[in-house]
Symmetry: C2
């Protein structure tokens, strides 16, 4: 690892700053490769602004920055005095943290460091940027803030910093007013803004079409609070008519509310809109503190966006000292059979209302459809052991599933009490004999206080029974009631669980939690997240055909997703007769997803019996690694195609995956990424000639081919299809 190269230049701002005619200050900053440049300026109202240019083309027009604070009663006096004055004085100007600023100081610096993630798309990541930190003074309130810009070769990150100071110590954010003024009516791939879910289908549309198209995109969800008629979520992927790719997201969202983007149509501008708490407040801050980074990743191709490591680089280095227990994991699970509807999480149909500790399950009649029974679990363990999987997830093992959803029930699970037919000791022993780990499941039903109350015992239970990882879930409305899935209070909860899990050497894969913002760099035991429509929606009517060509540009910008690919039986009625859903994918594409949907945690989601029907194709899932040395983005066009080649972290083998949209796609694949001096044998898993997601999804071909760095290969993918290739180095 190279030593960080850090250069700080204190600007003598009289010399360096540009003094514009209006008396407004401005300062420029360039990326290390000088292709990106930004201008910071204070406008006539003393409002900080920035502007961003890429290869001479404007990406972001001059855009306002700043925050609006909540108007508050002047601080109440300490209660233990003799006077106890409460002043109801409201001072408007104090709420303004946006205008009236003057520049005090500007500091530029350069940073260049290469670091090794515990796991990732690459074994080494370069973190190279030029930095500008502007210190601003607001005379009317005698307050200072710093805005820190980091300009990488692949984009811009900036954040607000609030130093410790007399007149700004504790404050409440009413709203953040960070703007992104765009240069045209770009194409955008978005889901509607919502404070409680991201599980919507993506819409690709012009920015000007957001308002008209948005209502139809707000399909029903287990918990949802739409954020506004032109409000969308991050990461937002855009493409300009002149071929610029622009991605807006955030990095290191810690102790802060998650940002949405509200589109101001008349200004062709996105403005930040933070997730509110139960009273509509957006954040409670104590200086010194910082906002998350607001990120603009830019490129001339979709591949530039996917190759960016800016989101990770803007996060703090790993805070976990010993990371030896954090291991990328391939797993199967007692899950899909319930998702599809063949079996149940719940143990019994006898009751529809449960009181933990009072409901005596030993006296209730099992429904006969409870999947998490010892025998069934052993069957999955056998399959995992036979095919080299690391672990088995089991959902529905613990008491409480009969009424867990939709009742805002406080004491909904205790996370340690199994159903009568789940023999936790026997399963621990059996899995251990077979060399398979178990993956714990903690559905919280969004009852966050209840989960925190049980967290220590639940994690200790995992340690005691050899579960090194947990899939947690946050289905339904948040408790405490009125809070939202992405508010500061609840974001704080997720991180609390992650840091406490680290104390127990437990890896966390949280579903329905807040979308990640690269914090897995700092806490690499956060090995997965959902935070978007995953494979489960293939059994809830089907994901859109282009879904997996958009996710890498949106959801995955913040970190890995536990997408749970590997569906070999697309016709859900074959598993559960009443389920008319059809997965909108070919079988070959399902293999590709293990490469295109990067995650250190990969599931083979389908039933063992479905894999047994297609063992030749299943071989790819067995072979594909879950940790990488290098990644190359060969084709990348949202809605159309994503083709990625990755080199195994622990061998010279390469793996290629391609997922395509409804139009199908022909890939001219060049193997130029291979080591020129080496020989390889490729095994290609491609769509059959007559394949298509709807008519013939299980039509695939497998063939082997000797390849080298000069090989080229045309591969035709069907509608909703794709291909996967494993390339083994021949010694």
């Amino acid at each position: 690892m190279s030593k960080p190269n850090l250069t700080v230049r204190r600007s003598l701002f009289i010399l360096i700053l540009l003094c514009l005619t209006s008396g407004v200050w401005a300062q420029g900053l360039e990326s290390p490769d000088r292709r990106l440049s930004m201008q910071f300026a204070l406008n006539a109202q003393g409002r900080p602004t920035y502007q961003l240019t890429f290869d001479g083309q404007e990406i972001i027009k001059t855009s306002g920055l700043g925050l609006e604070l909540k108007k508050e009663e002047a601080g109440r006096q300490e209660t233990f005095d003799n006077t106890q004055h409460t002043q109801a004085e409201t001072i408007d100007r104090k709420a303004d943290l946006m205008t009236g600023f003057t520049l005090v100081d500007a500091e530029t610096s350069t940073f260049d460091e290469t670091w090794r993630p515990v796991w990732g798309e690459e074994s080494e990541i370069r973190n190279h940027y030029n930095e500008l930190a502007v210190k601003l003074h607001q005379e009317k309130n005698d307050r200072d803030i710093i805005i820190r810009f980091r300009l990488f070769n692949d984009g811009l990150g900036f954040r607000y910093e609030f130093p410790d100071q007399k007149n700004l110590t504790y404050f409440i954010i009413k709203e953040e007013h960070t703007q992104f003024r765009l240069t045209g009516d770009h194409m955008a791939w978005w889901v509607p803004g919502d404070f409680d879910t991201q599980e919507y289908a993506f819409t690709g549309s012009r920015l000007s079409e957001i308002r008209s198209k948005l209502p139809a995109t707000v399909t029903s969800n287990a918990s949802q609070t739409p954020a506004g008629p032109t409000c969308v979520q991050t990461a937002l992927m855009m493409k300009s008519d002149d071929g610029l790719y622009i991605n807006l997201h955030e990095a290191a969202c810690i102790n802060y509310a998650t940002m949405h983007l509200n589109y101001l149509e008349d200004q062709q501008t996105f403005e930040s809109l933070l997730t509110p708490d139960a009273r509509g407040d957006k954040g409670f801050m104590q200086t010194p503190c910082v906002s998350p980074w607001r990120t603009i990743i830019v490129g001339h191709s979709g591949a530039d966006i996917l190759a960016s490591r800016m989101t990770l680089n803007l996060n703090e280095p790993c805070k976990i000292e010993d990371t030896s227990w954090i291991r990328p994991t391939k797993y199967i699970g007692v899950w899909w059979e319930m998702i599809v509807g063949r079996s149940h999480w719940a143990y019994t149909d006898d009751v529809t209302s449960v009181k933990l500790g009072q409901t005596d399950y030993s006296k209730l009649k099992p429904s006969g459809r409870h999947a998490a029974n010892t025998e069934n679990v052993k069957r999955y363990i056998d399959f995992a052991a036979r095919h080299g999987f690391d672990a088995v997830l089991v959902e529905g093992w613990n008491q409480g599933w009969e009424d867990w959803f939709g009742h805002q029930k406080d004491y909904v699970f205790d996370f340690v009490t199994p159903y009568p037919d789940f023999d936790v000791e026997a399963i621990r022993e059996y899995a251990s004999q077979k060399g398979v780990k178990m993956i714990m499941h903690h559905e919280t039903s969004s009852s966050t206080r209840n989960y925190e109350r049980h967290l220590d015992k639940a994690y200790q239970f995992m340690v005691d029974h050899d579960y090194p990882a947990v899939k947690s879930g946050y289905v339904g409305d948040i408790l405490p009631r009125g809070e939202h899935h992405y508010s500061q209070w609840i974001n704080n909860h997720y991180l609390y669980c992650i840091t406490k899990a680290a104390d127990y050497h437990i890896m966390v894969n949280a579903h329905e939690a807040v979308r990640p913002t690269g914090i897995c760099r700092t806490y690499p035991n956060m090995i997965g997240n959902e935070s978007a429509r995953g494979t489960e929606f293939e059994a809830f009517g089907g994901n859109t055909v282009d879904h997996t060509t958009i996710l890498p540009f949106t959801r995955l910008i913040g970190g890995p997703m536990d997408y749970t690919p590997g569906i070999f039986e697309m016709d859900c009625s074959k598993i559960s007769p009443d389920n008319q859903s059809h997965a909108r994918t070919t079988l070959a594409r399902q293999l590709a997803l293990y490469v295109t949907m990067y995650s250190p945690l990969q599931m083979a989601a389908d039933l063992p019996e479905n894999y047994e029907r297609f063992m030749d194709a299943f071989q790819f899932i067995k072979d594909v690694p879950v940790d990488w040395q290098r990644s190359l983005y060969l084709e990348a066009e949202p809605g159309q195609v994503v083709t990625i080649a990755r080199k195994d972290k622990h061998s010279d083998n390469w793996f290629v995956g391609s997922t395509v949209g409804p139009e199908g796609h022909t890939t001219r694949l060049s193997f130029s990424f291979l080591d020129p001096g080496c020989k390889y044998e490729a095994t290609i898993y491609a769509d059959g000639k007559d394949a298509s997601w709807d008519k013939n999804p299980q039509s695939y071909i497998i063939f082997k081919k000797k390849v080298n760095s000069k090989t080229k290969l045309d591969l035709k993918s069907a509608s909703g299809g794709g291909f996967a290739i494993s390339v083994k180095a021949i010694k």
Copy 2:
């Protein structure tokens, strides 16, 4: 202990029920002594009502019962299906849980049991009542409820019961509409309704004067949310013009919001008003469940009210199996010197903003006024040991006090990290050598999530360092923000702490927490509470002179208060020159409070040096027990006088205390409560002839006198004065 005598009579309601002309049903119930009688009836709208009569005089006129539920969207379907319908259907009639009822069944029974509290005003308590349980059916919603009435000789308790049933499983309470229709414009002693504090001065007024007098009573507090212009708190004490004493409160408020009483002037009626959550909802319920008991204690004298054990009797028996570790405790503390303003909780003046784990106290300059330093604590331990106190409380020992209040700060304390000058190990050892226990202090700053996160470690820290009891505090606005001190969510928090404390064998004395409702019977490790203006207000401008003559009729109805009496230096400026407060009490009355303000936890609140000036008077505090065999209420008139005689639980000694209002009072004390065959020596601590709370509070006389059951003694108490007597049996 006598065996419970339980008789159940299933009423054949055709025979027993009265069929009134309108087709309305009614049924009567009498108290065991037949002096109280109540009538249950369904009115013409099918609304349940009750009416209460005492010795032929109506106490409560026919009053409505029932609840209003929140109108809700029909339950969302389980998320994991294929259709995901959300029905926005709102069905109004479902919100009505108040009218349209018919009587299904009525069951009467008798219960008579004598039980022994772990600690209390008496060593045995008789629980004797007649019960009527009416089962009601609401045809329009096909729902059932039960209203259970228990009629004691001293009053009525009733509650709503919601059995498990198809059409009433999970529901949200919009409001409870329990009414108390009064028979006249009674005198009442009240504090204004507030969802976040009870720390108001009492007002004695006619009911009709509540509206006009209320605004002035809402004095400023560290957290307050006034509940309405005619809303008051319980326990509410009333007196009718014909000499009936009526007390309204609740018992066993568990997993339910605290009740306030909203006065409907035109109907001369109080109606229940529950504490809302952050969104204004009043309760989330899952059947089977019950409401707290609504209580009406009645009598022909104030003494009847004070002698009532109805509140305790309506609570569940003790749930803690081994109670050997629960011990009534007399203590002193490093506290009053900070309350008065001479010293500080905080360690330093160097910072006004703290981040735990980041703020390095070892580098900060101590203010020199930090009371919780090892040397000072040892001085208190010495004093405690010398004078036979059980324990020493120390506040301000742990890091975080520099900015603990008023900032809605989440991570405000960790409850285990002492300031640099508080040597927890040395203090543990010193106290242990001296035979003195330490009392822990956990100020939560109302940051309830943070407290729960640290609770296990904080309690374990107590066990490790020999602190058998904790004083917890909830100063300031509740976190999660928007919740209130008395909402269901936060009431649940307090009980969570108490039950978890029991696991660690820890006794809890929660300040600023919800007012107690007798649950110390069930959880006797809850040895104290504040929940009203305590002695601290004597240093914040002074309590009203009659305050301690009202508390026994109001705050103490629900359980003991940690009032912290024992102030010998009334002039606060003598301790802290800037504090102009003057405690509104004579010294003799301060002694009386150890008898009149029943608590198993009694503090001697003043500074050791003040006690050393009056060691003859201090002797009473040393002598007075904190647990009792019998209690007799000799004089009891709210606002005027409370005189109580109690017999020590572990000897034949008696103790008498009397506290009087601003008018002063002469007590004709008869010692008839003494054992006729025994001889006694009484030591009388009375106001001096020239004593008065404002002019000469430290004027007292002490004299000894041989007494027997025939002795009578006139004792004149000054304005704000009183007397205390210890009566030792001569063997």
